[in-house]
Symmetry: C2
Subunit: 338 residues, 2 copies
C-alpha cells in the first residue's frame, strides 16, 4: 500500500504470483475467515460439500484480485473482505455447476464434488453458495456492487450456455470463442477488480480501468488454461488432460489447428469434435496436429496480447507494490505452465 | 383496492382462486411483460428453455401473492411488477434445478425441461434466471427487498439439500418434514408477500403479518400437493403420479402411514422408501395403506391448520376485496383436488 516504487523484476526471472500473494496475504486471512464462517449451515451436507471444493485448494485468484485492486486504490477499510468472499462464492457455485454440466471426474487434482456427493447435492449447494454471495453483498449494502456482480453472474450463465451451444461445433470461430470466454471467465475477473474501485470510492475512469485490467487478465488466464489442456500432464493441471478434447469443446488451440489444417486434418477434427473419434490415440493425434500448426504457441501469443492490455489498463495508477504485483500477475498468467 | 367491504362467499360454494386472479389480473399483465422481456438473451437457447417452463402454464402463485399483498396494502405504485417478476424467476430457477435433481420426466403436464434440453442447459438457464432475478431487484433498488429475497433463496437451497438428505430415510419425523417444506416452499411464499409491505412502506408489524400469511399458506399448499400425489390422477396433477413414492421422498402422507402402521406395514415402508420396492404394485399397496390410516385426510387436516393461521395473520388489515381474495386463496389451497 506504501507508495514506494519497486523496480520491475528483471525479465530474465520467471514472473510469479508471489508478489500478489504477499500483497494480499493479510487481507486474504480475513477473507478466508468470512468464507469459512459463511459456508456453514445447519444442514451438514452443505459445509461438507462446499468445503470439499473450497478447502481443496485453488488459487483464490478472483478474491485476490479484489484485494489487490483495493490495495491499488489505497483503500483502508475492511468492506472488501466480505465482497471478496462473495466473489469466491459465486466462482465456487459456477465451478460446482460446471462439474455437473461437464460430468467432470477431477477438479483441482481430486475427485470432483459431483463424483463424491452426486449431481443433485452439487447443484443445490451451488445454489446455496450463490444465494450466500448475494446475502454478503446485501450486508455490505452497496447497490453499485450488487449491480456489478448480479450483472456479471447473468453474463457468466449466458457464457456457459453459449459454450454449451458451441460444443461439438467445429465451425466455431475465434470471435465466438473470445465472446464465450469473455462472458464465462472474464466477466467475473472484471467485476472482482471493479468492485475494489467502488468500495474505495474512486472515479468512474478508475473503475473502468480496473474492470479492463480484470477482463483482459481473465481472457489471458482462460486462453492459457485452454492451451495447457493440450500441452502439459494431468498431474500438473489438477484436472484430467484432454478433457476439453473429449467433451468436444472448441477452444482456441483446436480452432487454430482446424483453421490452419489440411482438408484431411479438418476431416479428423470434424470426426473428433463430433464425438466420433476421441480415444487416447485420437487425443495423441490431436496434440500432434496442434503442435504441427503451433496452435498452443499461437494461443499463448494471443494470451500475451490480452495480458499487455491488462497491464496498460492500470498504467494511470501510481507505481508501487500493488501495481507491480498486478503487472507481474498478468505476466505470470501467460508464462505459467500449469 | 377500494375499501368496499365484500361479503365472504357462502361456505357452501367451493372456494376458488378466481377472486385473487381478478384482483391481480391487470397488474399480472405488467408482470408477464417484465417476465417475457427479461428472460430474453442473445443466446437463443436461454429464452427457448426458460419459455418452455414459463410459458408452460403454472399458476404464477408467488408473483400473484406479491400483487395481492400490494393490493392489501393499498399500494398505488408499480415497483412491485419488477419484484413479482423477480420472485417468479427465482421460483422458475428452483423448478429447473429441481427437475435436474429429481430426474423428473414431467412438469406441469408436459415434458420437463431437462428431458427436452438436457441437464446441462437446464442447470445453466436456472442460474441465468436466478441472476436475472437479482438484477431486477437491484434495478428496484431496495436493500430491504434484496435482503429478504437473498435470504429466502439461501433458505430454499438449504431446504432442498435437507430434503435430499432426508430422502429414503423412513424415520423422517413430521417436525423434520415441516422444517423442510418451511424452507423449500414456504420461505418464498413468505418473501413474496412480505416484499409487498416493503414497497408499500408499511410497518414492521404489517410486514410480519404478510410474511406469516405467505409462510403458512406455503406450508398448506405444499402439504396438499403432497397429499394429492397419493390421491389423484396424473392427468389432473400435471406431474407423474407416485413420483414422490418412487423417489423415496418422505412426505407427510407416508410419515403418517408409517407412524400409524403395523409392524408388517412398517416393514413394507422400509423396503419401499429404501427403493427396494417401488413397482406399480408397490405404489398401489402404498396408496392402500395410506387410505387405511386416513393419512391423506390427516395431511389435509394439517394443511387446514396452516391455512387458518394464514387467514388469521392478515386479520388486522382492513376488510375488502384484497383481504377477501387472500382469505379465499387460503381456503382454496386446502380444498383443491389438483
Amino acid at each position: 500500500m506504501a507508495a514506494t516504487v519497486l523496480p520491475l523484476r528483471p525479465r530474465s526471472s520467471e514472473p510469479s504470483l508471489a508478489p500478489m500473494l504477499a500483497l494480499t496475504a493479510t487481507a486474504m486471512n480475513s477473507v478466508n475467515a468470512v468464507i469459512l464462517e459463511r459456508m456453514q449451515s445447519e444442514i451438514p451436507l452443505i459445509p461438507a460439500l462446499a468445503g470439499h471444493l473450497i478447502a481443496g485448494g485453488g488459487k483464490r485468484m478472483r478474491p485476490m484480485l479484489t484485494l489487490a485492486g483495493a490495495a491499488l486504490c489505497d483503500y483502508q477499510g475492511a468492506r472488501h473482505h466480505k465482497l471478496a468472499a462473495a466473489v469466491e462464492f459465486i466462482h465456487t457455485a459456477t465451478l460446482l455447476h460446471d462439474d455437473v454440466v461437464d460430468g467432470s471426474d477431477l477438479r483441482r487434482g481430486k475427485a470432483a464434488a459431483n463424483i463424491v456427493f452426486g449431481n443433485p447435492a452439487t447443484v443445490l449447494v451451488g445454489d446455496f453458495l450463490f444465494s450466500r454471495a448475494f446475502e454478503l453483498m446485501v450486508e455490505d449494502g452497496s447497490l453499485k456492487v450488487l449491480r456489478i456482480l448480479s450483472h456479471a453472474s447473468a453474463v457468466i450463465a449466458e457464457g456457459e450456455v453459449d459454450q454449451l451451444t458451441a460444443q461439438r461445433q467445429v465451425e466455431t470461430s475465434e470471435e465466438r470463442y473470445l465472446a464465450i470466454i469473455g462472458a464465462k471467465t472474464a466477466a467475473l475477473f472484471a467485476a472482482a477488480c471493479r468492485i475494489a474501485a467502488v468500495v474505495a470510492e474512486r472515479s468512474d475512469a478508475e473503475e473502468r480501468a480496473l474492470d479492463e485490467y480484470g477482463r483482459n487478465l481473465g481472457i489471458a488466464f482462460q486462453l492459457v488454461d485452454d492451451a495447457i489442456d493440450y500441452d502439459s500432464s494431468s498431474a500438473e493441471m489438477g484436472k484430467g488432460k484432454g478433457d476439453d478434447f473429449r467433451e468436444g469443446k472448441m477452444t482456441l488451440p483446436v480452432i487454430l489447428a482446424y483453421a490452419r489444417g489440411t482438408p484431411e486434418e479438418r476431416e479428423f477434427w470434424r470426426e473428433a469434435v463430433a464425438g466420433f473419434a476421441n480415444s487416447d490415440d485420437d487425443l495423441a493425434e490431436a496434440v500432434q496436429l496442434i503442435n504441427r500448426h503451433d496452435a498452443v504457441d499461437a494461443t499463448r501469443e494471443r494470451a500475451r496480447h490480452f495480458a499487455h492490455r491488462a497491464i496498460d489498463a492500470i498504467a494511470a495508477f501510481p507505481a508501487g507494490e500493488a501495481r507491480s504485483a498486478m503487472i507481474e500477475a498478468a505476466e505470470f498468467a501467460v508464462a505459467r505452465r500449469y
